[in-house]
Amino acid sequence: MAVTDAPKIITTRFDQADGHTLAGYERTGGYAALRAALGRTPAEVLDEVKAANIQGRGGAGFPAGTKWGFLPADVHPRYLVVNGDESEPGTYKDRLLMERDPHQLIEGVLLASYAVDAKQAFIYVRGEMAVAQERLATALNEAYAAGLVGRDIAGSGWSMDVILHWGAGAYIVGEETALIESLEGRRGMPRLKPPFFPAVKGLYMQPTIVNNVETLANIPWIVTNGGAAFAALGTEESAGMRLFALSGHVRNPGVYEVEMGKTTFRDLIEAPVYGGGIRNGGTLKAFIPGGASAPWFFEEHLDLPLSKATVDKAGSMLGSGAVVVMDDTTDAVKACARVVRFFAHESCGKCTPCREGTTWLHQILQRILAGDGRPSDLELLMDVSDNISPGITWPPKQTTICPLGPSAVSPIASALRRFRPEFEAYIAGGRHAAAVPVEVGARG
């Protein structure tokens, strides 16, 4: 395992002052992939993406080429929807891609639409990302004016529209069926799958592909250099380069584009070109490997490679590429409670186990932090967790339509199993240490 010198793919314009403009983009090879693809068949473009074996960069990690292949033949209209609703705690990369290289995303959208024969695409940007919206609006206006989007693209006779859409604040909309509901002008509540698999019954009940921003940003490079060149990076199981947002207690927090499969968590956290190690010469207490929904990892996991299969097998996930590092000064109870607060706040309310369960988990943790914890609270936390996600296993079983509820169980299972004495100390030192335990459902 090592820090590799693989070429950057999607961050090459991050330091280019005019990288977000059409002129700056075209000067550095932009829209060459589109022009080349328009001389090939859609099936050839699709085959390149399949050959690239690129896993979706949003969280679930499903291969994009396979997903594109799920669209039923001859059912039209069909849509491409770009998920730019980045909001998983710890995750910061799609916003950068939209702000610093919006044309790269637009070119990826055009190539994907060409490959799957979609005639309309929607870029759904998180509502709170004002600058990303401005950069994308400007880039789309430039691209329409230059004949690169809209009618008769680049003189090829092929036409399609790309519409910029933006949200208004709701984490759940990052879930693809909730995003579709939101794009239809409704409350962002997930749909049941089956029957509402987007590829079959998506936007307006038509076949729809929902792809993450980072996934699509890779497509121009893949089309230019070939799927095989992409697949040659990383490992057979986890191909290509990927952005990781490294945050928390490291010397150099940052967003790094690293080679998957070959780079390890230790490389990412400790290498001088990445995290540079724990700040202030401290030691690692825990780290979240893939966003707030992911079970925590510890020192014994540092040498695992950044590979989907390996991390899944070890009991967590690479998720959205968000690595949050906690050093030995971290209060595990506070960290756990903060993540649980997030899920309680963001539960959409559709499914009872999530709506009620996450709220109860949050309330119990708050009373523990406030010094009102009861000795029975730790079992109560696990009991409520078990009702949201039976067995508290990985991958999680769920009693809910989407994974949000089970995500709230991850920090509890991780922190309570590893740092139980810290929870017990809060309870023992609290004002009501000797209080009589209450039954589940009783309000304290």
Binding site: Y92, K119, G147, R151, M160, A168, G169, A245, G248, F342
Partner: protein, 195 residues
């Protein structure tokens, strides 16, 4: 104040025309209303319902789901302090305390002069730049307490108004699709002139 202005109604019809089904324009139109008045009024929601053929209940149902839509007036500047995990680890909660102390209001409240509303928010995707906050959805990365104090002084003195629009305006650039460039192949049943 209230219903969409004639100019905004024209804008609303342009936005509606880009979607295969008009209801998809609901969230963008609620943003137009919030940009016009600084918050989303009942009258504006009623007007949007008329434009989209939706009942007031349908409009309110969507509007009330989303955190950014304010159904009562808020400050000219909305200060959103992130306290989620990556920021918490690097002083986000202490930053929020400082913001509350400096402005003299708790999260959720507005200063007496109507200038600032403070919110304790979830992750805003600047995790490697913790602690961070947004003012009207413009980012301030790795912000110190002293830098926040300077920012407040600047905003009160009107020195950052070019950089930070008043509450309600998110994007200052809108998508424009020239009629002769619109492909229109994905749309069903909408007249091209409304695009």
């Amino acid at each position: 104040m209230a219903r969409l202005s004639p100019e905004n109604e024209v804008l609303a019809r342009q936005i509606i025309g880009r979607y295969p089904r008009s209801r998809s324009a609901l969230i963008p139109l609620l943003h137009v209303a919030q940009e016009q008045d600084g918050w989303v009024t009942d009258e504006a929601m009623g007007h949007i319902g008329e434009l989209l053929g939706l009942s007031s209940a349908e409009v309110l149902g969507t509007c009330s789901f989303y955190e950014m839509f304010k159904r009562e007036p808020v400050g000219t500047y909305l200060v959103n302090v992130c306290t989620n995990i990556s920021c918490q680890l690097l002083g986000g909660e202490e930053l929020l305390e400082h913001v509350e102390e400096r402005l003299g209001v708790k999260a959720g409240a507005t200063t007496a002069d109507g200038m600032f509303t403070v919110e304790d928010v979830e992750c805003i995707a600047a995790c490697t730049e913790a602690p961070c906050l947004q003012v009207n959805y413009r980012y301030f990365h790795r912000i110190t307490h002293a830098a926040f104090d300077t920012l407040v002084d600047d905003l009160r003195a009107g020195r950052r108004s070019d950089e930070i629009p008043t509450h309600g305006t998110t994007t200052r650039v809108r998508q424009h699709v020239p009629a002769d460039r619109w492909a229109g192949v994905g749309a069903d049943g909408l007249a091209p002139e409304v695009r």
